[in-house]
């Protein structure tokens, strides 16, 4: 499980924020007043927790407070894809790619293959349609990089 560094950083988080981020990455209760229950476990009131969460999301420390879905378990599929975008077209192509709601993550990377994104869909057969649509819109090749084998998988953020 991820751990937010506790050492001083210019990240503007206080001890309570860290406790929330580190303590609430999973196990959020499913009951009528889940924030009240989670807050009690953290030594906070429901209002305090809600306010903190709103701030953490607004400031971008949390990308969201939400279920983390396993798309493959749900019968969907994810695929990594890459493009080699001419630098002068980069911003336009980024906008075209990001406009697809099925594009979940998108990074610019330091390479001739400079755009790397993940297509995530609940209906597996739509993966190819999304990749093809991006090719049609941009006139560029979308290199399909589906995972073939996976060796170990864990999320780790240094403590």
């Amino acid at each position: 499980m991820s751990t937010v560094p506790s050492t001083a950083h210019s990240d503007g988080l206080d001890a309570t924020d860290r406790r929330i981020i580190n303590g609430l990455q999973g196990g959020f209760p499913v009951c009528e007043r889940p924030y009240a229950k989670a807050a009690a476990d953290l030594g906070l009131t429901e209002d305090e927790l809600l306010e903190r969460l709103q701030q953490l999301v607004a400031a971008g420390y949390l990308s969201r407070f939400a279920p983390l879905f396993d798309v493959e378990r749900l019968g969907g599929a994810v695929m990594l894809a890459a493009m080699a975008v001419p630098p002068q077209r980069l911003e336009t192509v980024i906008a075209q790619v990001n406009a697809h709601p099925e594009v979940a993550h998108n990074y610019e990377r330091d390479h001739g293959f400079n755009l790397w994104f993940v297509i995530s869909v609940l209906d597996a057969e739509r993966i190819e349609a999304v990749a093809a649509a991006i090719e049609a819109e941009t006139g560029l090749t979308v290199y399909r990089m589906p995972k073939e084998r996976e060796f170990y998988l864990r999320l780790r953020v240094e403590a």
Binding site: I21, Q25, A66, P67, L68, F69, L74, L122
Partner: protein, 178 residues
Amino acid sequence: MSATPSHAPDALDRRIIAATQEGLPLVPRPYAVIAERVGTSESEVMARIRALLDTGGIRRLGAVPQHYALGMRFNAMTVWDVPDERVDDLGPAVGALEAVSHCYTRPRHPPEWSYNLFAMVHGRDQDTVEARIGEVAATLGGAVRASAVLYSRRLLKKTGLRLPAGDDEFPHPESERE
């Protein structure tokens, strides 16, 4: 393409996924708000979410950290061209490294892309990441025919699962944040 789905979502599950994928409402009774949006009861929403947790359709429920904002700014995609017949022994060795968060094989696209083994390396600063990349290189040793390190320059988009837009069956979730 992947694991057999253990829980094929029905129409109500899909509406619940659409209504929660960008965030649970930050109000005292979030499941009641979702229930209202998708047209069912609070208890039904809770039952569906519990079932999705039980079957792994929801991996976890809670805070999804934004690693960039939390200081994990350096993420390197390291890519390696190793002989296919060596993948069986090299893949697990790289995947077991502390330094590596994800390790996959992926198809080559010759001539532009000759790399078949991907290892993701993260860290708070470039020196840390470079040292960790060194560990991957040492593990692969003489099997490496070519390699590259692709640092992230910018995170351009990060969302969770998104249902297709324009699918009128689903109420549209809140607007994009990123």
